[in-house]
Amino acid sequence: MFDAIITGLVALFTPQAILFMIIGVIYGLIIGILPGLGGIVAMALLLPFSYGFETAATIALLLGAHIACVWGDSVTSILFNVPGASKALPLCFDGYPMTQQGQATRALSASATAALLGGVFGAFFLAFTVPVVRPLMLALGPSEYLMMALWGVTIIATFSEGSLLKGMASAALGVFVAFIGMDIVTATPRFTFGIVFLLDGISFPVAMIGMFAVAEMMKLYVKGTSIVDRSIIKENSTVMEGIKDAFRHWGLVLRSSLLGLWIGVLPGVGATVGGLSAYAQAVQTSKTPERFGKGAVEGVIAPDATMAANEGGALLPTLAFGIPGGESMALLLVAFIGLGVVPGPEMLTKNLSLVFSMVWIIVIANAMTTLIGLCISPTLARLPTLHVNLMVPTVLAVCLVGAFATRGRIEDVVISVIFGVLGYIMDKYRYSRANFVIGMVLATMIERNLHISLSLYGKSFIFTRPVTLVMFIFIIVTTVWPFIRNWRRRREQGKA
């Protein structure tokens, strides 16, 4: 095994591999920052260039781009309240308030450092737990996946932009939007009203571009000033503060990384659930949960560490079983086949050095992304101070062209504008947009796994599957606990 670790590292010290990794990381950062385009698009566009080069170099290009995209997605969430991808949504909750308070540099550097720590942790954990995780993975079925998705939903109860009743209603509305299109279980067209375009459903990135980016630009126009007015709020944070924050909350980073790794290992769950769950556990385990949603740095650290660790976890089922952990991993699988690498149990015996090359790529790409991120954070932090008259046309243009680029369909631009107006109204009347997107993202996963669980295990599957039951009890406890804690705190304050 030690030989494989060294051979895996040495394979990356060729000029081609180093150059490809640098190109991949820079390219990934740019794509990640563009709204609507994420790791999947980045890898899909690189696929044609993945043949005819060294295997390690090609994988460095693809994985490097994918990993850099994770932090790129976080940047727009923190600076503009515009998630670069659905998984970066939790970064908006506290990252954007930090920007508004003149703490953008700190938020960006904390995010980059947490991503590095999470990524490195995920990579090493991947390397040393391959033999252990396999039986664990096989022990979980659709009912446990359902519980994972429900755990993601519990964030609605622990965090809401405004009214909780409205927040829950927003989540329900988001679920219905996700149900627009062909039902994946029964092939019934639902809520399409005879419109052919709607049969494919509403694209998440498009809805998010509208809900956040377009709505934010409308808000900015109405407000008439830039996101951060430097004449009122000075940038009062440094890169070092962010780095220190990430190390100071090492326990949170560790918990979030473990969570991300675990969620990554489960095929089809995805980083979105990971990010939301990480945020939920950060709120639930904090001694001061009332700070969340108002610019708590822990709200930035937890999702970023989870998302970065998720990449290492997602590689495991892809390599060990040939089952992609997500869409990006499916593309990586296509590249493997093109390179003549056959994923499966043999990867962990005959191609172990290649597996360790990937582990090293994750570590090095994360380190490069963080280094670049820390260097450009002070410059990026100045973007929200751009004058409103420059910000509105340029961001609107990038977002609407981005909405079109998502699927190459003009109808998506119309949808993003409709969601923009809807997002503005929801924000004004405090119907949580975040909850709407959470409902939208998790709806399909919940419905699909509910149907499969009912078919496989019967109506009382929660009680007949021990792991499901334990997870169900865990969800109830972690959801109810903040309410009880607040109630006790109020009672104590009343007594005092």
């Binding site: 009214s163 126009y221 003009i410 504008v417």
Partner: protein, 182 residues
Amino acid sequence: MMSRRTQENLIAVVVVIVFVSVIITSLDFGPRARMVPLPLAVFGLILIVAQIIWQNLRSGAELKVDILEVLTKKTEEENVSEMAGGAPPGKAASADRGPLWRREAVAIGIVALFLGLILLLGPIPAVFLFTLGYLLFTRHYSWFKGFLFTVLFTTALYLLFVTALEIQLYHGILEPLVNQFR
């Protein structure tokens, strides 16, 4: 001008209509296809009706605070403080730009105009016209600077999306008309 309570009620009624429509539409689906949407719509309807009752039983200053918030004591203070204003942050800075409803109407109009341009001309020409028009209209830059900025920005977008990302562009409803002059 409508009061905040009337506005809140109007929005809540629209949400009620959405939930009722979902319930009615779901009844046409098979039992498996409606297994999740139907109960969820009923649950959503109950929530929003509770919200309507609650917001009409409380004083105007506490309008945004609901039953669950009272239970959790979550965001009451900030809600009440923001409710007193009823307008988004930055109100003072934008007070000289006309009433809120007018600025909101203009904001929607700007987005709708941009969408219209994209539908008519396709994304890249629309970006050029919209950005140039916006900069000239707001007088942020001089005529020449605005034009230069727009050309650079549109070129950057073109290079990024069309050249680098190889996105096949939509050419707009007016394309057949343009073709006639080619």
